[in-house]
Point group: C2
Chain length 343, copies 2
């Protein structure tokens, strides 16, 4: 009685007992052969493998997961699955994880607190081994709670005291970008920041302000506008900046996508990059090299971030994993910035 054989896809194939019968051994022996455990007689081994092959037997992963408590799956929360940004991160994670036969589930929190929370809970309910969270709206409290729920958690994009994190120093990046522009002789530097309240956006803005202050320049709030981290946001923010009428000879956009939107708006307004306005991006997405003028930007090693996060997580799971590379930000000089004639 009780449960009938499932109709599910998994149940359709041969079971271990079918293989055992076909090979004339016990299920335990089949299991041992498949898991390379203990010494199984060579003769039996061959027989079992033959039967496995013949019946196209695949062990039921759900049964294995139930027994071991391991699903061989990791989850990744990001702000969006679109866009050029998370691709390299995903790839870095996948490269390392797949070597350990771990798969990766990606889910989007859409930059909204409510959605992020729901996604994290859904991920927590799936019996994943690992959780990589790149939150945009969740509080540190909430992240710590999530980490207490079971799966190993690695936080990306920000430092959360008490949890394993892999973050880049966004404030430093904002500082580097701005200083670069300053060194090129620009004094009136506008900034298109990311969404207000988002950590990385806030930090880059802080870096921008610090560089200006260090140089003894006043930070003019009229030279700062906010965007959504996408092309459309950069486009709109640039138009807003232009409409304010405050002159600027350079502009630092908090990411490359917005920088490209900015460039479009500038051109529409009859301003040339870099002759009239120097433009600096952030991220170094692939496209940055190909847009005209090619974008000078701050490179974030996102694939390396993914690898580092994966390595750290694997260690937490008890696998012997290598040591991650140093994650350094770097100015990539291309053609969108030019020195200001001090004439």
């Amino acid at each position: 009685m009780a449960v009938q054989r499932g109709e599910g896809q998994v149940g359709e194939g041969a079971r271990i007992r079918d293989v055992a019968k076909a090979a004339g051994v016990s299920p335990a022996t089949v299991s041992r052969v498949l898991n390379n455990s203990a010494g199984v007689g060579e003769a039996l081994r061959k027989r079992v493998l033959g039967a496995v092959e013949r019946l196209q037997y695949r062990p039921n992963p759900h049964a294995r997961a139930l027994l071991s408590g391991r699903s061989h799956t990791a989850g990744l929360l990001v702000a969006e699955v679109d866009g050029p940004f998370y691709g390299p991160l995903y790839r870095g994670l996948e490269r390392v994880l797949s070597e350990h036969r771990l798969h990766l589930i990606m889910a989007s929190g859409r930059r909204r607190h409510e959605v992020e929370w729901e996604v994290v809970n859904s991920l927590l309910g799936r019996g994943l081994d690992l959780l990589f969270l790149w939150p945009e709206a969740l509080s540190q409290e909430e992240l710590r709670w999530a980490a207490a729920q079971g799966p190993k958690v690695v936080i990306l994009g920000q430092e959360v005291p008490g949890l394993p994190c892999v973050a880049l120093d966004h404030a430093h990046g904002g500082y580097l970008a701005t200083r670069y522009l300053l060194q090129a002789g620009h004094l009136r530097i506008a900034h298109v920041a990311g969404p207000q309240g988002m950590q990385d956006a806030v930090s880059r803005l802080a870096g921008y302000q610090r560089a200006l202050a260090e140089r003894g320049l006043e930070v003019d709030p009229e030279l700062v506008a906010y965007g959504n981290f996408r092309e459309s946001g950069g486009y709109r923010a640039a138009r807003e900046l232009l409409s304010r009428g405050r002159p600027f000879s350079a502009l630092f956009a908090a990411n490359d996508q917005m920088a490209i939107g900015v460039a479009a708006a500038l051109e529409e307004a009859g301003l040339r990059v870099p002759q009239d306005v120097s433009l600096m991006g952030y991220d170094d997405i692939i496209m940055a090299r190909y847009v005209r003028p090619a974008l000078t930007t701050i490179r974030q090693p996102l694939e390396e971030v993914g690898k580092a996060a994966a390595l750290r997580a694997l260690q937490a799971l008890g696998y012997a994993a290598g040591t991650p590379q140093e994650l350094a930000l770097e100015v990539i000089e291309r053609s969108s910035v030019r020195p200001l004639d001090s004439s």
Copy 2:
């Protein structure tokens, strides 16, 4: 004896029997409450829910999957997780699937037969409910074999007789793009095709040739070069075309990423788009709207493709799902093509 309580993350929380004990009922009753089955007395129901809450009980998904044969997870094979191309597809799939509490695993086949085959097998061994395959190198035989292994399979990007597929008519798209250029008065039209042997690339090339032939023009093989579907490939292919010395007034690139690489190469060679060379892309990635000049292109409704594929798969699983939209290709006119003066 036998198995000890797992150390896995899943095993760490409360089990159904703990809840049952706390509520003073049997595990069966807890199960019924949680699954809203049958009529459970309201009083008990409350007690059970209270205990669930108190113990922070989460049913073990692996046990459920073992019993039901359903993992609530779908797999997606694509050529790369990077790049702007698959984002909208993933999003379309995810939007529909998540409404049915299905998660999505993405894996990259890297355009290599061997890797694709391995990935498909790995996916097949995971007890997934659904498989979405956008193959670049697998044969129709292999795809049919995969579909026979258990999970419901939907093929993307090409038609495979006998299997549910969601594909766009790439030949038609190539034809549309070329005809558009022809109608603008161009007669010498170069083509940067995708990798030789890949279905979509081959079809677009065929569409290009058909449009030329229809117009009574000879197809000059010297005007065709091949790229890797990425910016770098477009860049190199354009340089190759230029080095051949055959004149052309327009160029159709088999995707937007290559078109953007082409534009960079053209500009480096001192050629202006569209004044000197008209440029047509394919896909309509977000960036197409923002590069300068904004790219005239063929829009592929990839998010819709994802939704349609998800809907079809859900039907196969027996869920009542809606009917997908029509998937039409469309010329998006922007600024990278201009009529040829017939002077």
